[in-house]
Symmetry: D2
Subunit: 342 residues, 4 copies
């Protein structure tokens, strides 16, 4: 059985990544691609790497006949997404890739994003899209909120450890390194090749990054009490990839075993042998996440590493994984391509 999908916001990187992934999926057809400012253009002109594909012309959202669509991927910017989704048919299955429906508490949303939420009804029904931990809810959901790419990475490293109570909840430090495509295709000076290449710097310092809203929500829920982590993202001069280096207090071997057991049956979460560290180069372009654990020389301290591709497992791959569940497809369908190396 073939499912028809639309991708809203197809002129951005996550939209193009969805097209790339869905092209490998045997049972999904792309019926509509929207791009407000590029409406009327062929995808080949916006993304020449998709030139060989037979794709719909980019259109405006209000030109789409949603009655023919089984599921809609929404890859629009924050704020825009909530406005658009509020106006979509109420029974349309939606996977949203923006930040708009990740936080359950409207006050938390306003605190981190600076505006009142414009689609509270939809926010109320949204399911948090971290597939490996919300499978059942996602299967039955109408609206799934894709997680932040940094937020996904940190949670893969930490959730089983918080659940199992094997680390000190007040002493978690996430030093995160993310690739430039995480900032999208926007024209900002710091994203220019000349500014970024050969450079390396932290940003959103002092734990002010918006993905902290997700960490706070999810980790506190898991722990049954407030958990606040420190989180410092850094911008790497590479196009794809996130590496989280997480400093925790606890027994390193127990931590490794906890993760290994928790992810033993997970197709996309690969726990490395104890003492090995993953590289972003080894997950690039794939839906896999590599996780490593090492003991520090100081007794009772450990480092947990998680590496994934921000555009795939961190965003569009996750979105397709969730769509598979919502559509009754096999969860891994279209997502098992090996990483591109070198």
């Amino acid at each position: 059985m073939t499912h028809n999908v639309a991708i809203l916001g197809a002129s951005g990187y996550t939209g193009a990544e969805l097209v790339r992934l869905i092209a490998q999926h045997p049972n999904i057809d792309i019926k509509a691609l929207s791009g407000e400012r590029k409406a009327g253009m062929a995808m080949a002109d916006v993304f020449p790497h998709l030139r060989h594909m037979d794709l719909p012309i980019l259109c405006k959202i209000d030109e789409i006949d949603f009655s023919q669509i089984d599921l809609c991927f929404c890859a629009l910017p924050h704020k825009t997404s909530q406005e658009v989704i509020a106006a979509l048919p109420k029974d349309l299955k939606i996977v949203d890739l923006s930040a708009d429906f990740r936080l359950r508490d409207p006050d938390e949303y306003e605190k981190w994003y600076g505006n009142k939420h414009a689609a509270l009804a939809q926010q109320g029904e949204a399911v948090y899209g971290l597939t490996e931990f919300y499978r059942d809810e996602i299967r039955g959901a109408r609206l799934v909120a894709g997680t932040g790419c940094n937020a996904a990475t940190g949670q893969f490293a930490l959730r089983p450890l918080i659940s199992a109570g094997v680390i000190d909840l007040d002493e978690i430090i996430l030093d995160l390194k993310c690739a430039v495509s995480g900032a999208g295709r926007s024209l900002k000076e710091n994203l220019l090749h000349a500014e970024l290449s050969e450079g390396y710097n932290a940003y959103a310092i002092g734990s002010t990054h918006r993905h902290l809203g997700e960490f706070d929500q999810e980790f506190s829920k898991l722990a049954g009490r407030p958990v606040k982590v420190q989180f410092t993202p850094h911008l790497m001069p590479v196009n794809r990839g996130i590496l989280a280096t997480v400093y925790v207090k606890g027994d390193a071997q127990v931590i490794h075993d906890t993760l290994a057991v928790a992810y033993a049956d997970e197709p996309f979460l690969q726990v490395l042998p104890f003492g090995e560290a993953p590289s972003t180069h080894h997950v690039r372009g794939s839906n896999y996440c590599h996780i490593g654990v090492a003991a520090d020389r100081i007794e009772g301290r450990a480092i947990v590493f998680a590496a994934l591709d921000n555009l795939t497992k961190g965003s569009s791959g996750q979105a397709l994984q969730n769509a598979n569940l919502m559509l009754g497809e096999k969860e891994e369908e279209g997502l098992t391509m090996a990483p591109l190396f070198p």
Copy 2:
């Protein structure tokens, strides 16, 4: 029906790329992976990006039971390849990725490679593996010689033009830009990140690069008279990709039309609209080749561009494309993944 294959030389980049591609193929199983110096190791330890796959342990070639193998990919270094292939079962289907069986004339081989050929019998039966131009021979071949990656790129730009007689055969200049993975995983100073990054230089200057042997052989055969091109390769600080900028004399519009007609039904050879130039970034990780043509301001001169991924369409993708023909599979099977961008 499932075909069993072996990959000899699986610890190099083209070997790993074969594994990545075959993982997408529904009807091919990898039964053996050889790596003389790394025999006994798991592929995950040699190429951590393949960690999620269930692959044979690396072994020595003489440990492989070839009676169970339908087709053997040979991704060994030059010279080694001919020695190994000479000793393989005489009825085993082989796709060789080395330079050893590309040149039909043993004297030409010796001239470009500096040693006498050690497997003349096999050389005699080898079919040149530029799929789009040797399909019928490849279908019936036992031994197919994969082309040089630079040689493939230049031929995609030029073959139809030489056949059609629309360019001056004595005035062809190939200015080629190739990525570092073309040099393999060998430990050479000029391949270090610190030496290559932010740099850019020509090498094998003065038309001394070995792939000229292939150009000479193929272009002269097509033209029915000797054709010699100028060829200057440059090393780019990128990991994958080749861009050929070919300066020719002829009518640009005729040249474009000739290529567009010649490749109209080719799934992997995409001719861009007249006046557009391709980028290596838009074919990376894929089996597609993008071709562009522009008129120069000087009447009667044109520039032809061809861009492909040296490890995929230039090497391992081509090898799988040929294997598909030899095994009776659909030619595109396992090869239609979209490029990875960004």
Copy 3:
């Protein structure tokens, strides 16, 4: 004796490069830095790498007291530059880094730049700033027009050959590779790290790049008859550097000797031993230009390579070299820093 200078357009890359170079000059003081949109900001906030320097606050041009300025560097965009310079004091020494005063024929200017020239009087007195070939005129000039960075590279490779009549003037092909900083600090999609890194493509194809106006003017003047070259620039995923690969017809050894003799006493133009090719990595951040010559396998054909740093020798270094002549300083003053490698 100390010379006071102003730099107009100090918030761009060539402006910042001027500051970096002048910091090494014992006899030049920076008295004013302009940046219309960033007026009021400290240079440390616009270019944090200059944080350690004691520099004037960025101001608007009309806030500068030019009576205190001995020489003014003008690093403004095209068109803006001619308007600003037309309004500056008529006796102020000026080194312009824009394209506005490079072409002597106003019709040629209009043809390549698309607008009527707005400062014809100044255009009439401007001296073309290719230092090594216009030293005497530059010494006495009031207004010097810095050359295009690509134009400089091509001319270093070709001028002595055209003067000496050792190459075929109708068969010159310049295949040029330039770094991204040549496009300035402007916010364009194709200059984003995510778009450029791992990519490689030609632009301004078909010999349509504006620097051809300079080639036509200078080469025709040298030859005493019209000379038209083919010129295809490519964008490299590196920040600094230009490599010109020039295909010519002539005797390679004679070509090498001609260049070696012509540049024997030039401090910044280094001719490599016959048969060697330069790399952009080996001139980065310096005012040096490396030039190589090789014979092709086809008799009577040669390849000339020239590598320089587009921001230094191709632009701001050249500007300081010219200013030194105009101010009676030693030509090399402040410019002999070794390249940064790796």
Copy 4:
């Protein structure tokens, strides 16, 4: 007065960097350059970026007449350095760039480097070369031991804080990012462009990196009691630069003020305004170190950042700074070049 120097190990990156820097120094002449395996070669052939300089031919160490040398830079590999230095004239001033004389306790040396020290006499007299903190000792020293590049970065971030007692000594985490040139010009697979570019990973995980020996020695000495930090280095796909992200417990404003006061008169240590983070791109190729401090959202926690160029301030620049003191030159001589950006 001119000082004559020799550079031992001039065919490595730190050796070449010394040549680049000394070229800017008015009072130092390079009299000898050694390179055992490349003896007899011109530096231009080993490092083409130094082609324009008039330099001695590379020789073997035993060919150098040390009676003519005022100071010897020793840029040899670990272990080799101690053997060579033990055999040099006992009154020769030496700046060693290797790890051999950094640790005062021979047992600590053996613990971190795995071999018994072969030059205990020299080790006993060596002064630790972190210029800003050992000026007086360095001025009078015969043998100065250059610090590790990572060790320098971490100490610039932390020493004044430990001295002032404003941070918790048992809760210091150094997450460090270093460029590939820190590993030298050695042929290792993980240093290849194809392996490193687009990748990012930690190494020496679990606080096993040798530079911890220096941290332990120096921080414990400062604190008057044992101090052990956690230290996780990561390899960045860039050529130059180190960024240390240091997680500490203490009052962020007090921490910033302490660093600002401590470095107020230091020409090379630049403390950024409170809340700003430095980038490696803004110190590249220079002797400057940029330091930033931010408060975390969690009360009582702060992040300290330090960025420097591993080859300059982290190694060869530091060495020249020390040599200036030992030779009675102005400390900054030859070292005030602005960073290269972009």
